[in-house]
Subunit: 323 residues, 2 copies
Amino acid sequence: MEFLDQYQEVISKAITKYSFKDKPQELYEPMNYIISNAGKRLRPIMVLMSCDLFGGEIGKAVKPALAIEYFHNFTLIHDDIMDEAPLRRNVPTIHTVYGLNTGILSGDGLLLKAYKFFEDLEPNLYKACVRVFTHTGLLLCEGQQYDINFETQDNVTYEEYIRMITYKTGVLSASSFEIGALIAGANFRDAKNIFNFGKHIGIAFQIMDDYLDVFGNQKDFGKKHAGDIYENKKTVLYLLAMEHSTPDERKELEFWYSKKTDNVDKVYGVEKIFRRTKVDEKTLRLVEKHNQIAHDYLMKIDIPDEKKKPFIELANYLLRRES
Amino acid sequence: MEFLDQYQEVISKAITKYSFKDKPQELYEPMNYIISNAGKRLRPIMVLMSCDLFGGEIGKAVKPALAIEYFHNFTLIHDDIMDEAPLRRNVPTIHTVYGLNTGILSGDGLLLKAYKFFEDLEPNLYKACVRVFTHTGLLLCEGQQYDINFETQDNVTYEEYIRMITYKTGVLSASSFEIGALIAGANFRDAKNIFNFGKHIGIAFQIMDDYLDVFGNQKDFGKKHAGDIYENKKTVLYLLAMEHSTPDERKELEFWYSKKTDNVDKVYGVEKIFRRTKVDEKTLRLVEKHNQIAHDYLMKIDIPDEKKKPFIELANYLLRRES
């Protein structure tokens, strides 16, 4: 998508321009290391897109967009420590390269640096954006803790699952859009509409991620097939399967999810129940449901539909639908 | 000191009032655990004292004062992980009780919660205070990294040492005073004067801490005698001794500081050089120097001296001088 490339270029240039030259190098080098190892940088792009949609000045949104990217990378540094992950985007994680202590400390520093990147905004706007940012940060921590809790929690409900992914994934894209809207001077109602668009796209994306783990084309997806099943992750597939299975199937699911094993029989057994209970179809319907909710919020915004096209394209891209 | 007790009561009540009731409990309980295990709470008291000095409304400063206390406890949680400390204020540390992951995550959450506690301030004041707060946070991270660097750095200079303790200790007390002044509506110059008062008191306190480790009455000090020597810490005593010792003495110091041992001969040998080079007297003169600088900044503030008395009492208390 051409418009994505254009925004991406703005972000890449800004990341280079503002790369940390502060001292001590031992603290800031790991921050530059993770940020320069770019992901798709969708969240800062969302800030710019939203600012554009509401007729704002893109230049004013660039540093706040970096704040979102820094924040995201702060969470990655600390999450990778918690998950004991050796690799991130195919290169060694911060704590693997620089050790645990630098991982913790440069994560902290990156969060604080993110706050600094709102400081060019005038006080009213600064306060509005920083409030959204802080609130989002707390919800992410809460979502991460819920996710940790799920590992040992017996009866995770569908509602608890949705809350967890909303906090972990939905809120950051939502807030990215909202901050872009605030910077453009959008009214309160429209800022909330674009927030909710981002929230439900985020939820749909996360549900799709669960789906693709098992039912995706692994070559495209780039992850180990059924990694979530091996890891006993209580994904939406698992929760729906537990709900729609027979007592015997439920027992089998519980049996497999109480074991950590690389035995393919596990994946074979679990997938069979997933297919029998049709959780693949059910999950795709959930993706569609949240995509539709997102779309409805987008349509509520009183701006010509033509200008909203990039948002629909982005949603389709994230949900791997043909546009 | 009676005035300290009064402020302390205000802070204690506020901490109880605002104790975190949010969910998930697994995230917020560790925050309440560390905050309720009170230290002297000097930093939030500094916010209130400064607000009082400049004729501000104490009620307005209470939540920002808690932000400072939360921030301080966030650094303690993460520092204790880095130091692998089993105890803090005589009770088990967060990561010991709740595990590494919760330690990292609830530390992050506490930093974010701290930001929320400025949100009652109107936008101009909010921005002014949050900027000071963010900047302080970054300097603390930098100071912590310098401290980590010193462990393996061969030639630590006196200037590098002062910078490290300024960032690690001086800046937070400085900013506590500054934020109190800003909330009271003090002018820019006075806010900087009280900032510098706090900075130099912080530096003097840290130098005194180094001194007491070796030359203090251990019963009063409550720590292991000469713990810094056993730990090979490059304190001001060590740096001054290296500067003022003979080549043979320097070799002996380097020998001892390259070894980790519980052998009392080490402490005996190092202390002998400390006394021969008179670093005890030199260190006390440094304490006095920074105390004097702090006092000079305090005196620059155009407020009747009578109102400044608590600040001098606090300095004397921190530096264990008879007032």
